[in-house]
Symmetry: C2
């Protein structure tokens, strides 16, 4: 698989890594990077994450056979709608962490020859920006794709093969189910890490060890990106939060009664799940 | 500083590491390991964490100038009381994660020549057992000591120098204040990691990435050890839990109203604390 030209919209950690990976794996002769920030484009060119740069979406996508939208989640729909008229037969995909309603939101504007397959590579870091981009970011990771219909078209299958060619394992999932799962496995953990950090007086930081460090690492993530994700998935994040608070209610009761055996069993239930994940 | 003989009671991750570090740094000619489990003692001898082994507390401590109690927190008082008659002029310290009331609990049984200085090295791992012991476990870490009086005796200063000689930076703190701080910086994070893991259906684990992995790592900790810690510090852990739930109440409200700007500010407050800690 090799595209003559790929366009990447939004050159941050993920967009930059798509560019690095696509070139490292020979998937594109040219990679156009599109970003409003000229310094970002310059850095991406220097790193070799893209081979051409532009701040103009229309110009950037018009020669592309594949457009990968790597903007924050609250920009994806606008970018797709703006790009469609300029690359009417292209393949489109994105990397947003929230998927419900995306495909439907652009369906009315999608040219008949264009194909959009929403995607979410489960890769990232607490650091953002093209400086942290890596050609192997997607290797051995899961990429979830959420097609509107159970049977994929040939064009959708090409997009799936692209994500596989970047090194990821593609899983097809219903968009709402994706969001329900991610609320628990990714979105709520970000909010929890933030809350743990926020209730800690800075003067107490010298009295932290590896446990606090690990538990709060993703509290350092970009607040603007994550506010958009949490807002977009607020229904399922609230459901996940209720489950967590129920769990804390049990914990509070066990503390109140000083029930050491009950606390041990409560901890065993968490350990069993975590042990199943491996180190 | 070199002791002729140190006794370590409880040869797990921490006890084994005290033995390895004390020998690596030439702090003891002989290190006696005391543990009820013969397989553990055998493993500790093989690793060189101890130079002699016994299952008998009285026999193990009687020649020691320094006794380091590395049992779970709910065993420390009993071990000290049992050891005192057999090493009446020794120095005693421990590694428990909860300090309030420990010194007072044994004061009536302490022989006049013996000195007990409660200690808590802020070092550990989600893995327990002597197999994970490391000679550098305490290097660059904080060890909190909680003397009963503001001015330390010469014997207490010797114990402080021992913890410094293991590589740690010693901080003197009030025992209750230690427990209040640790509830936030260590004990509650363990419960939170456990709760996050426990609410995750195992079938969803393939849809986790680094964020979940980091946030839940300490959910794999030993449930028996941690149940004892949480129960011993239940007053301050409940206070910390209330602060966390207040924080989640704000979060729930921001989700309910879809207030993206408010969510961003909420996340910024956590990020500021976490960024102050460094990577």
């Amino acid at each position: 698989m090799q595209f003559e030209q790929i366009a990447i919209v939004g050159i941050g950690l993920i967009g930059g890594s798509v560019g690095l990976a696509a070139q490292a794996r020979g998937l594109a002769r040219h990679v156009v990077g599109i970003d409003p920030n000229e310094a970002t484009l310059h850095a991406a060119l220097e790193r070799g994450a893209i081979s051409r740069a532009t701040t103009q979406l229309a110009e950037g996508v018009q020669q592309a056979q594949l457009v990968v939208v790597c903007t924050p989640v609250d920009r994806i729909v606008d970018v797709l709608r703006a790009a469609f008229p300029h690359a009417q037969a292209a393949l489109y995909t994105d990397v947003g962490s929230v998927k419900y309603g995306l495909a439907e939101a652009v369906e009315g504007q999608r040219p008949p020859e264009a194909t959009y397959l929403p995607a979410h590579p489960l890769a990232g870091a607490e650091k953002s920006g093209v400086a942290y981009a890596r050609a192997d970011l997607f290797a051995q990771r899961v990429t979830v794709v959420t097609p509107r219909r159970p049977n994929q078209t040939a064009a959708e299958q090409t997009i799936i093969r692209f994500w596989e060619a970047l090194g990821s394992h593609v899983v097809v999932m219903d968009a709402a189910e994706h969001d329900r799962v991610m609320a628990v496995t990714s979105h709520l953990p970000h909010a929890v890490a933030s809350a743990l950090a926020a209730i800690t007086p800075p003067a107490w930081l010298p009295f932290t060890a590896g446990g606090f460090r690990d538990s709060t690492r993703i509290a350092a993530s970009d607040p603007r990106l994550w506010a958009a994700i949490l807002a977009a998935n607020r229904h399922y994040v609230r459901c996940a939060l209720e489950a967590l608070i129920d769990r804390f209610t049990q914990f509070r009761q066990l503390l109140a009664t000083g029930d050491t055996a009950g606390l041990e069993q409560w901890l065993v239930e968490g350990k069993q799940v975590r042990d199943a994940l491996g180190t």
